[in-house]
Symmetry: C2
Subunit: 279 residues, 2 copies
């Protein structure tokens, strides 16, 4: 990564972010808060979403196609905003690409390890991410003294996409998913899926009520954005004199009827035209 970063890089170029779908827009949202002056190009592979049900070889192939498309558009750095891709593809992308590649799992795992005092960390994520073992693996690289208790929470993705982010239904669903983490007496709950930040208030409430006031909820999107910020500033890759807030450009491989509604919900802001691309 040092080699790539030490080349002549256009600091004014946008950051490239990609995900299997629209969930990664929560990472864009966090990036806009962490690095408000940066332009961002986001690619959602909505035609092939979800990746979580596919094998590693297929996920790597799709990730390479997304990454190369963004590189061809001149991005200065790449952020993988997809847990499935982050679990299997970063090394391969770093080998194949000439620009720095950052991913979502490692920053979230590290932030969780830094936040825990008891060493008992709970992770909520999709079934695919939990089954991959990516979070316990990433945590083990930060500390040998943590226990990672993962729990698949498949209903949280459709709840976030439906916009059912407050009230009785999400509260009951979240309480049910929190139960095994409460029994394991974790002191950190890591949100290991890009959709979950939309349910953060409900999750925090359930965590406080069911486990305790002392428990920290770590949002992997926010942790990733903080890491990207440190990386960009450290290597003088930030725009020299950004004027106002940077732009967000949305690319997608397919646009369904609810695309704009769901994308706005995840990004937390309106956006311009969506460009359809064929990978």
């Amino acid at each position: 990564m040092t080699d790539a970063a030490s080349r002549a890089v256009d600091r004014e170029a946008p950051l490239g972010v990609f995900d299997s779908g629209l969930g990664g827009l929560t990472v864009v949202r966090a990036l806009r808060e962490a690095l408000p002056g940066e332009d961002i190009v986001y690619l959602g592979d909505t035609a092939r979403v979800p990746y979580g049900t596919k094998g590693a070889a297929t996920v790597i192939r799709y990730a390479l196609a997304c990454a190369k498309h963004l590189v061809a558009r001149g991005v200065k750095s790449l952020v993988i905003a997809c847990n499935t891709v982050s679990a299997v593809a970063p090394e391969r992308l770093r080998i194949e690409l000439d620009i720095p590649v950052l991913a979502v799992i490692e920053p979230g795992a590290r932030a969780a390890v830094e936040a825990t005092r008891t060493g008992r960390i709970g992770v909520l994520a999709t079934a695919g991410t939990i089954a991959s073992g990516a979070y316990p693996r990433a945590m083990a690289q930060c500390s040998t003294r943590v226990d990672c208790i993962g729990h698949a929470a498949p209903l949280l993705v459709p709840l976030a996409e439906e916009g059912w982010t407050e009230g009785e239904v999400p509260e009951l669903v979240v309480r049910r998913y929190i139960e095994p983490l409460a029994n394991a007496r974790v002191d950190v709950v890591l949100l290991g899926c890009t959709h979950y930040p939309l349910l953060r208030p409900v999750i925090e409430k359930a965590v406080r009520e069911r486990i305790g006031q002392h428990v920290t909820v770590v949002d992997s999107a926010v942790a990733t954005a903080a890491d990207v910020r440190a990386f960009i500033l450290d290597r003088n890759l930030d725009r020299r004199s950004p004027t106002g807030t940077g732009s967000v450009r949305l690319l997608a491989t397919d646009a369904t009827r609810s695309f704009r509604e769901v994308a706005t919900r995840f990004l937390g802001a309106p956006f311009g035209d969506v460009e359809l691309v064929d990978l």
Copy 2:
């Protein structure tokens, strides 16, 4: 279809059933009740599930691959147990294949039209199926005197897959989805997704309580199985002297960790080995 059916067909051959994933196993379950002596080969394209988010051209391409694989295995008739495929591909499959092709939408739509007295029919289905307009189109071909009120119910698929099919969460979710159908005063509620039969008791309870005792819940899997039975018997395609219950053979393009658990839930019975196939 008559041409195909009038050829020399091996009556002892199995029925072929396919779906984008495992939901279509509820159709297999209904088929086993309707035609207990028949052998069934089921193909779930689990590597590419879901189809509902993909464009029509892609869905047709995938459907042809599934269908041809089953034809190569010598099935005597093909049942499309996938609403997305049934909405766009049956005609193309009928043109390309030499065997009869039956699908899920038309039988469900017809059963709903036959059941309604007021002409007001509600449909619960995935966002993709509702957006496709396939059910109102199919109902319009049966009767010009029905109103079809469709409502997307995206949480029901993960509820069924999680096995959360009774208790507070599914009851609240279903009640919320039933609301617009209650306001429209439908007298039939059609379950337009292969996953929903698992939630049928909860849906029936909510329908009785919120809309009324007189409302009929039509299960498109059951309606399809009844149609397949009539078709098979009518054309003397049923096995001559089946001994006991027919076999079910499961093929899939990918097998995740939860495959067996979810498949058993949908089929309502245990099953043997799963054969992985590459399309």
